[in-house]
């Protein structure tokens, strides 16, 4: 399943979904998070050390994380600020710790946390506005590699077609 998480003010997730339809992509799910109440990760670490696998913040995030934990790909659709994704999109990313464990191993020459579930989705970014494309690609690569998955790349809004072709 390809999971699209829209955090943009203009809700450009629907444009992405339309493009997916035109390309007959199956099993795409769009979640519009813009009206949801999703707070920032407060770094309590309880999801690792107190209630393993469970976030103590009870807001609208948990159903999204459940979807993330079983998706093949997650695409973050974000406005940009400081050339980077918005804080709203970053909060969604920061809150994924419950699907990661505190345990570590070296895997392919890189220290990584052992993932809690058997699979981890690939990551992609679609951004609207003045993003630093090179940096966003670098960041997405690094994050996916931390999770032991692959990056599908970061694409500006004008490249939605290209992004969809990589799904």
């Amino acid at each position: 399943m390809v999971l699209l998480l829209d955090t943009t003010e203009e809700k450009i997730g629907s444009e992405v979904l339309r493009e997916c339809g035109l390309n007959k992509k199956e099993e795409v799910e769009l979640i519009d998070t813009t009206e949801m109440n999703i707070s920032n990760c407060n770094g309590c670490n309880f999801c690792w050390l107190k209630t393993p696998g469970e976030c103590t913040l009870k807001d609208d995030y948990e159903p999204i994380l459940k979807k993330i934990s079983s998706a093949d790909q997650v695409w973050l659709i974000s406005d940009t600020k400081f050339g980077f994704i918005s804080y709203k999109a970053k909060n969604i990313v920061d809150r994924i710790s419950p699907i990661i464990t505190t345990f570590l191993h070296y895997n392919n020459k890189k220290a990584r946390h052992i993932m809690r579930y058997d699979r981890t989705p690939d990551l992609g970014v679609i951004y609207s506005g003045e993003g630093n494309d090179e940096f966003l690609n670098r960041w997405c690569d690094r994050l996916a590699s931390d999770l032991g998955s692959s990056s599908r790349g970061a694409y500006g809004r004008e490249k939605i077609k290209e992004a969809v072709s990589c799904m």
Partner: protein, 242 residues
């Protein structure tokens, strides 16, 4: 010199690793005759006060924990509320994270450097060091050993060149571990570090659930593996008398 030091972690001050690092850094500052004020963005009610301090001063240090290869979402939100300033204000950074090798912090460092352009201020450099995850689980001498080196960095910062001095570069430690060190670290991860985590979780948080428990087992295979993990965990606990 008066330095405004801002903790950009969302973690409350009492449990924040960054806070402990800042305390040590600030000790160094005062030893060299500089003064400082310490702030933390974890409580939103102080954001107005911090903004004013940012506006009124020209030597700012953000102390930042790496969150998902970048700065925490909360810091991005706070930065959006800052007024524009000019390059008479210098912003420097202390970037710290959980993973030890220097290369793990470079992506975050790039983001911080670029941030100063968007804020319109001048960049005073970035003090980069990882291997700090366990600060929150340590106390006494053990804690002092980890945070003490930041005191020296505070002293050197008071010279007035931001973090643009040689010792700041060296402070990061190895950029990447050599193969033997990697292999040894992997063994530590899988034995001592693993047991310590389990012990700490129980001692500090009363947690008796296996730390790799899967609350959302999605099929019978995952359910089986969750159950066997559970059994393994209790065998391990017995074995190590925990």
């Amino acid at each position: 010199m008066h330095v405004v030091v801002i903790n950009a972690s969302p973690r409350v001050r009492k449990y924040s690793n960054t806070d402990k690092i800042m305390i040590s850094f600030c000790r160094g500052l005062i030893r060299r005759g500089a003064s400082f004020e310490k702030h933390a963005i974890s409580e939103r009610k102080y954001w107005g006060v911090i903004r004013q301090a940012f506006l009124d001063n020209d030597e700012i240090v953000f102390a930042v924990p790496l969150y998902a290869e970048a700065v925490p979402g909360l810091m991005l939100e706070f930065l959006e509320t800052l007024p524009k300033k000019d390059n008479r204000t210098r912003v420097s950074f202390i970037l710290q994270g959980g993973f030890a090798e220097g290369c793990r912090l470079r992506c975050g460092e790039e983001l911080l450097r670029d941030l100063t352009k968007y804020l319109g201020v001048s960049y005073g450099g970035c003090l980069v060091k990882g291997d700090n995850f366990s600060i929150r689980l340590r106390e006494g001498e053990c804690l002092d050993r980890i945070i003490k080196p930041y005191e020296k960095m505070g002293e050197l910062f008071a010279n007035g060149d931001g973090f643009r001095f040689n010792q700041a570069k060296k402070f990061t430690g190895p950029e990447i571990y050599s193969t033997p060190v990697r292999i040894a670290t992997d063994v530590v991860f899988k034995t001592v570090a693993k047991r310590t985590m389990i012990k700490m979780a129980e001692a500090a948080f009363g947690c008796t659930t296996p730390l790799d428990y899967k609350p959302w087992a999605q099929n019978s295979y995952e359910l089986d593996s969750a159950i066997s993990q559970n059994e393994q965990f209790f065998t391990l606990k017995k074995k190590y008398n925990m």
